[in-house]
């Protein structure tokens, strides 16, 4: 029978392919872990909006990688920082592209965080038992914006310098501890030789470390608590399993979906 011959061969092939995977799984359990992470059960009516978190994570990874490449050429010294940026833009092969990705990707990262936050808010996904994940997300948002603030100084041109002067002095107007916060950020009474390297270290080492740790916690909580159903979900409301609605009738503000009025 051709069928059985094929299946015997197929079995051998599969065994050959599976061998390294099983080897790894037996020694590390990684395959199962990755499978557990990636192929979780989610509600059948999850929405495209619920990919915004992954999009934000992707934007962060792009920032991390392009930032690491920029750090290979950038010099955080007041007398050569501007020239090193010019060097990256004009001389390094595709340096203009990597710098542009980092510069525009920063805005993309922040904007995606806000979209993701809006989705979570509108879906009510911050409610019990996911309150902690909302709080972690707020910390991530704050750290992300601090990344923007510290990264803005690094080109060391007039815009960067004076924007940072103003930004630090806005911090300095906070009551009571503001002047101390400003001096801590500056590294002294005035923006001086230490400020640039200080911002560079905060931008590329301190905050990214904290971000990575908090992203890990954020994902852990997502995996542990699962994904929420959209607010119009009938499945979550007790129905057995919802038929896929007809095309064109599915959307965020679908009428009748929330109030239980039949479509």
């Amino acid at each position: 029978m051709p069928r059985s011959r094929k299946s015997a061969r197929r079995q051998r092939m599969e065994a050959a392919i599976n061998y390294p995977i099983e080897w790894l799984e037996e020694r590390s359990g990684l395959i199962g872990g990755v499978r557990y992470f990636l192929f979780r059960k989610v509600p059948s009516d999850t929405n495209w909006m619920q990919t915004l978190g992954s999009a934000t994570l992707t934007a962060f990874i792009v920032q991390a990688v392009t930032g690491a490449i920029l750090a290979m050429y950038y010099k955080p010294d007041p007398n050569s920082a501007y020239q090193s940026i010019q060097h990256i833009t004009n001389d390094v092969w595709l340096g203009w592209l990597v710098r542009g990705m980092h510069r525009w990707g920063a805005s993309v990262f922040i904007i995606l965080m806000f979209f993701h936050m809006a989705r979570v808010f509108l879906f009510g996904a911050y409610k019990y038992p996911r309150e902690l994940n909302w709080i972690v997300g707020v910390l991530l948002l704050a750290l992300g914006m601090l990344e923007g603030f510290t990264g803005y100084l690094l080109p060391w041109d007039q815009t960067a310098y004076w924007a940072t002067v103003v930004g630090i002095n806005i911090n300095g107007t906070a009551p009571f501890l503001g002047p101390f916060l400003a001096q801590f950020l500056r590294g002294g009474a005035e923006i001086g030789p230490d400020t640039l390297a200080r911002f560079y270290s905060i931008h590329m080492l301190l905050i990214p470390g904290a971000l990575i740790g908090l992203i890990g916690l954020h994902l852990y909580l997502v995996v542990r608590l699962g994904v929420t159903s959209p607010p119009w979900s009938k499945e979550a409301a007790g129905a057995e399993r919802v038929e896929k609605p007809k095309r064109g009738r599915r959307g965020l503000l679908m009428p009748g979906a929330r109030g239980g009025i039949p479509r």
């Binding site: 007041p78 007398n79 004076w162 002067v165 103003v166 630090i168 002095n169 806005i170 300095g172 107007t173 009551p175 009571f176 503001g178 002047p179 101390f180 400003a182 001096q183 801590f184 500056r186 590294g187 002294g188 009474a189 005035e190 923006i191 001086g192 030789p193 640039l196």
Partner: protein, 321 residues
Amino acid sequence: MEPLNGDDRPHLPPPSLWPVGFAVGVACVLVGLIVDPLVVVPIGVAILLVFGFLWARDATKGYRAPVPDLEPETRRPGREAPPIPAHVGEAAMPEPEPGEIERFPRSKFLEFSTLGLGGVIGGIVTIPILGPMVANPFRHEKHGKLDLGPLSDFPSGQWMIATFMTDPAEGEVTRRTAYIRNNGESNGEPSFTIISNRCAHLGCPVQPNGPVFDNKKKVERTKGAGDVTLIPMLPAGGFGCPCHGGQYNPEGNRTAGPPVRALDRYDYSIVGGHLVLGKTYSVSKVDGTGAQAKIHRYGLANPGNHVDGPEAWLYPLQPPH
């Protein structure tokens, strides 16, 4: 040792964590004898004394007073415990033999000592981490003498833009700007108005509202302030800030816009016929003009911080500069 217990066999005192700290103190003293007998040895002695005291207090606890929060005795009086009914919970742990129970299990001791040692190490490492990061910006900075050149460079009644470096070794990043006017003699002493160009709103550089005579620019190389440039100007309209539109009159008083006080000023002195800049200070307002001006003077404050009025209560302390 624990008389309340009513048990006939003697109990040893529970293992204590304080000997660990005591041992650290001994090690610190021994290291200190080699490294730095004046600093490290006293620290070690202090650790020894503190932990020795705590250890002694812990060891004598049973003798001094009945301690209310004793760990409850888990030993049962009877020989055999009643069996746990099958319908209660999952498989029960085998009932331990009466002599088997440890009052302070070894695993618990190891857990506490690991956590404690980790905490001590973390604490010791934290100080050098926080020092450079947090404390260093608040140290007093040494200011060299900012020599702006001979008095003959500053004609009487003439405004000058002076730029100079507060630390020439660090380069252009330390370049600052002051607006200087020689007010002539006052009581036989030369009088100057020296205004900082740092806007009292959020620190942008204020610009003179009037002509600047770049063609009469003069560069003076001085010892303390690098290349000093002097440019004559005529700020008839005072000073204005390009960032958010703050306006000041020629004495530095705020006339319009968001600034919360007048422009900061520099102290000055005349040393060997040269004009030498001193510290910067903040000003709420200036009455009068020139040599007769009455300056309402305050310690240097961050831009945007009120120095007088009720809002100044929000900024009771300024960091050392």
